[in-house]
Amino acid sequence: MSETTENPIREAIAEAIRDHEVILFMKGTPERPACGFSARTVAALEATGAPFAAVDILPDPRIRQELSALSNWPTIPQLFVKGELVGGCDIVVEMYESGELADTLGVEPPAEAPAEAPQAAEPGAPPLQIDNNLVDRS
């Protein structure tokens, strides 16, 4: 059963996933991640040099609820590439370390394979931003 007309938040999420080749749903923003898992995922993505869009799920709890219902994935962050869920922090970092991430993102892998994922900055205080929940970085 499709209830796209009944659920504007889920529809907006689905549209964002459709419209952005690489999109990360995270806690906080790439500049100010509000959770260590989101910070590590951002660090891995940024290390590949691939552009990505980011959505902060914190401003409205319904974003997380609808996202998880849509993706069948319970935790945040969630990375989507070309409309498909790639994974959360563990999978993204694992793929970064194996070099798969650059492939998946369609960028050249770093010349020297890194021994391990880049260190994420310590997450700052959770930003309180209500309207800045879709930042297009592509």
């Binding site: 898992f37 069948n72 994935w73 935790t75 790639v86 994974g87 922090c89 563990d90 999978i91 694992e94």
Partner: protein, 75 residues
């Protein structure tokens, strides 16, 4: 508050033949890491393997279990 033993037991009970190692990442009883090997993971993508483990805990993920970091492999 869930314990590492409880998580290990729930995974091994729910997934036939699974072997799980669970650690408490922070000592706070809510951020865990689990390494899980199970025969039924063979042929599943990483995403599907992780989903299978998350499914064991249902709404507890994001509830009492704030975070469950996973490493899975078929065996």
């Amino acid at each position: 508050m869930p314990s590492t033993d409880e998580l290990k037991q729930r995974i091994e009970t729910a997934i036939p033949g699974a072997r799980a190692e669970v650690t408490d990442l922070t000592g706070g009883g809510d951020h865990f890491r689990a390494s899980v090997a199970a025969p039924e993971f063979a042929g599943l993508s990483r995403i599907e393997q992780h989903r299978r483990v998350y499914a064991v805990f249902g709404p507890d993920i994001g509830g009492p279990i704030h975070a469950l970091s996973l490493e899975t492999r078929a065996e």
